[in-house]
Symmetry: C2
Subunit: 199 residues, 2 copies
Amino acid sequence: MNQDKQQKRKAQILDAALRVLVQKGYDSSRIDDIVKESGMSKGAIYWYYKSKKEVYLALVDHWVHRYSVTLNHIVEEKRPAADELKDLFNFFIAQYESDTVVFKALLEFWSLAGRDEDFHQKLQLVYSDFLYLIQKILELGKKSGEFKDIDITATALSIMINIEGMIWFTLFDVNDLTPRRYIQTITDFILAGLQKKSH
Amino acid sequence: MNQDKQQKRKAQILDAALRVLVQKGYDSSRIDDIVKESGMSKGAIYWYYKSKKEVYLALVDHWVHRYSVTLNHIVEEKRPAADELKDLFNFFIAQYESDTVVFKALLEFWSLAGRDEDFHQKLQLVYSDFLYLIQKILELGKKSGEFKDIDITATALSIMINIEGMIWFTLFDVNDLTPRRYIQTITDFILAGLQKKSH
DNA sequence: TAAACTAGACCGACCAGTCGGTTTAGTTTA
DNA sequence: TAAACTAAACCGACTGGTCGGTCTAGTTTA
């Protein structure tokens, strides 16, 4: 069986695992749920992954890989820092509007990171990279004279937290506030705080 | 047995439940863990609460009640909106610095809200109230002419998300960034975005 | 024909909640 | 005031069910 087919099979398992994860949470998600959801057999799942935990660790990698391609692309081409930030926000809006399930899963992984060292290590790395990426944008804006002299680390974290905060919309209602309007508001807000007055 | 003793017993259970919750997560937390942690017997716990779920639902109420006293106090006395906001932030810094365990538990409750209707309803209410409180402060600042004409709902949510974002520090490391420095940075940031230029 | 499966029985560990019984604190009786 | 009584508070062994992971015996795919 070729690599492609194997990748498809793995993706089939991970897709099922993702759906199960957001419905039940990690601890209450059953291998048999993944069996049902994926349409594969228990044997097949244990053929590709050696344990339940391995499945979910692979799920993190799967999505990190998907996201990092686009994210790195945003920073690579040199443009005004403000535009790069906007692209970043827009990417996550688009992501949210096309499918909220990944955001829901994220919450579960945060929770897991708090009590499992393997998940903690993996996510620590993911977030270090993500923060580094935002910091690069901020530094760029600072060096080019586009941005004020702000605390880059703290600002980067705030930006990240506001993006991750979209999880909130998957959980609760806020009057008629949409993620799009939310992100647009905080984009304006953040840029107002960052940019030097141009007049 | 008098009310006081009963309340003490319940607090003893809830304290233990909180510690167990952050160590194991909801689904993997065992009644026997609470037994061990509280020094009480299984029978005693089931005497006060009819199920595991009831214990944790009571835990939410317990802390909501504790927090709401202070929070409402901050808004009650009429002072400049910026000062009220600062007090809000300072309250959560103090809270975090004295004990991070409640922040960790919060994450678990968010996760639970995503898959359990009872927890969802309870937290929806908690957050509606909290958002309402922040909105009141923002409206106050707007009416008094202290603040610009911002999107109150979206700004309130962003403030809340940045506060809740302190959870991040219980999970991961960011270079040498502390919650205090983080909150101070975003306080400046937010106030800069909100306040009218005073010169 | 070897790898990639399917179906599902099975094992051992684990655990929420129950229940029969005991203790404690307080009240009534004689 | 001491014995008898009562109900709340509490104890912990036990049960019925659950589930991750294994394994077997056969089938399909490339």
